[in-house]
C-alpha cells in the first residue's frame, strides 16, 4: 500500500506564488480523484482563507498549540469545489491577534508544533487515507517553515527570476533541504514572458537553473498579469482550466505524482 505523499511548498522570499501553486495543485489532484488535504502553514501571513471561506471556530494554530483535535480544523470542500476526490482544507487564523501570538511563540512551542504536525501527517495519510497533503509554508528560514519541511516527504521550492531569490534558494537547498535529507524540486515562477516565448530559449534557461540549483527544475512559469487581476477566490485550475497556467500546473501535478512514487534516493554527502 502506498502511504500518502506529504508535500511542502516553500520559497526563500515572499510573494513567489506558493499559495497560488499550492491551492491549484491540491484542487487539480482532488479533481483527478485523489484524496487531498491542503494546509495553510503560513501562520504569520495566512492566505488560504481568502479562497476557502470557512466559518469554523478552530484553526490549524489551535491544533498546533494542542487545544483541539485534527477533525476540528479540517473542512471538507469536495462538494463546494465539485472534486471527485476528497478535498480537505485546514486554515490558519488570519486575525492580527493570532499572528501576534504566533510571532511570540518560543522554541518549546515550536517543538510541540512539530510533534503535532508529525502526528497530523500520520493521521491524514493513515487514518483518513489521504493520497496527498499539500502544506503551504511561510517564506524563508523560520521555525514554522522548517517544521513543515521536516514533516514533509519532499519540497517544492518556488523561486522567481530575482537574483536575491535565486541566491537564497540555493542557500536553502544546501543548508536546509540537504541537511534534512529532503528531496527538493524547483518551480521557477513569474519569469518575464518574452524570455521564455521561444521553446529553445526556455530550454536553455531551464538548463541554466538546473545547473545553478543542482536540482531538477520542474517548470518555468511566465508572469501572467491576468492572474494577478483575478479575485483571490478564483482557483485557476477549476475556473479557467484552459488557461496556460492551469495547463502547466496539470503537467506539474503529473511530475509531482511521479516524484512521489519514487523512494527517496540517497543523497550524496556534501
Amino acid at each position: 500500500m502506498n502511504p500518502g505523499t506529504v508535500l511542502a511548498v516553500h520559497s526563500y522570499k515572499g510573494g513567489t506564488g506558493k499559495t497560488l501553486i499550492s491551492m491549484n495543485l491540491a484542487t487539480i489532484l482532488a479533481k483527478q480523484g485523489k484524496n487531498v488535504c491542503l494546509i495553510d502553514l503560513d501562520l504569520r501571513a495566512p492566505s488560504l482563507d481568502a479562497t476557502f471561506a470557512a466559518n469554523g471556530k478552530h484553526w490549524i494554530n489551535d491544533f498546533l498549540s494542542g487545544t483541539c483535535e485534527p477533525m476540528d480544523v479540517l473542512k471538507d470542500f469536495s462538494k463546494e469545489k465539485a472534486t471527485s476526490g476528497r478535498l480537505l482544507v485546514a486554515l490558519a487564523n488570519p486575525s492580527m491577534e493570532a499572528i501576534r501570538e504566533i510571532v511570540t511563540k518560543d522554541k518549546r512551542w515550536e517543538m510541540g508544533a512539530l510533534r503535532r504536525l508529525l502526528s497530523l501527517k500520520e493521521f491524514l495519510t493513515n487514518n483518513l487515507a489521504m493520497d496527498y497533503v499539500v502544506m503551504d509554508t511561510s517564506p524563508g528560514l523560520s521555525y514554522g517553515s522548517i517544521n513543515a519541511v521536516a514533516a514533509s516527504d519532499f519540497v517544492l521550492v518556488v523561486s522567481t527570476w530575482d537574483a536575491s531569490d535565486i541566491t537564497g534558494t540555493q542557500g536553502m537547498i544546501g543548508e536546509l533541504y540537504d541537511l534534512l535529507e529532503r528531496r527538493a524540486i524547483v518551480i521557477m515562477n513569474k519569469i518575464p514572458e518574452q524570455l521564455i516565448a521561444a521553446e529553445e530559449m526556455k530550454e536553455r534557461l531551464a538548463d541554466q537553473f538546473k545547473r545553478a540549483f543542482k536540482l531538477p527544475v520542474m517548470d518555468l512559469l511566465p508572469c501572467y498579469c491576468d492572474i494577478l487581476r483575478q479575485e483571490r477566490a478564483t482557483i485557476m485550475a477549476l475556473d479557467k482550466p484552459d488557461h496556460p497556467f492551469s495547463k502547466s500546473l496539470v503537467e506539474i501535478v503529473g511530475k509531482v505524482e511521479k516524484a512521489g512514487e519514487k523512494p527517496a534516493p540517497p543523497l550524496p554527502k556534501p
Binding site: A53, E69, M71, D76, E80, K107, I146, L180
Partner: protein, 134 residues
Amino acid sequence: MRGDQISKSAELSRTLKRIEKKIDILISGTEGKRPAKRREEAMGEGLDVMTLLSFPDHLRKSAMTIMKLGKAMAEDVAKETGRARAIESAYLNQLARMGYVKKVREGRRVYFSLEGNQANIESLINPKVAEEGG
C-alpha cells in the same frame, strides 16, 4: 582575661559548628537534587528543528531517523542509516544523554523516541469531517 579567652574560643567553636552544619545541609541538598533536576530539565528539552540543523552530520542522521520512525531500537535505526548497530546505539545514547531523545527499556529491548511523538495519535481516530459550504 583568661575567662574572656575561653568564652571567645567557645563562641568560635560554636560558630564553626553552625557553619559546618549549614555546609552539610547545602551539600546534602545539592547531592540529592542536582542530578535529578538536571535530568528533568534535559528530558523536557526535546528536539527542535533549529537544533537538529546545528547537529554534526552523524547525529543528525540518527535523530532524523528517530523522527521518521517515531519509536525504534538501535537496530531499526541502523537498518535505515546503513550503519552498524553498535555505532548507532552509541549515537542514540549520546542523543539521549543530551536530552534530545527519550530512552525507554521494555524488558530486554531498549527503545528510543522523540518525546511525546506518539502522544495523541490514538485519540485522533474519528473519521467524520465537518462539511463547509456544500
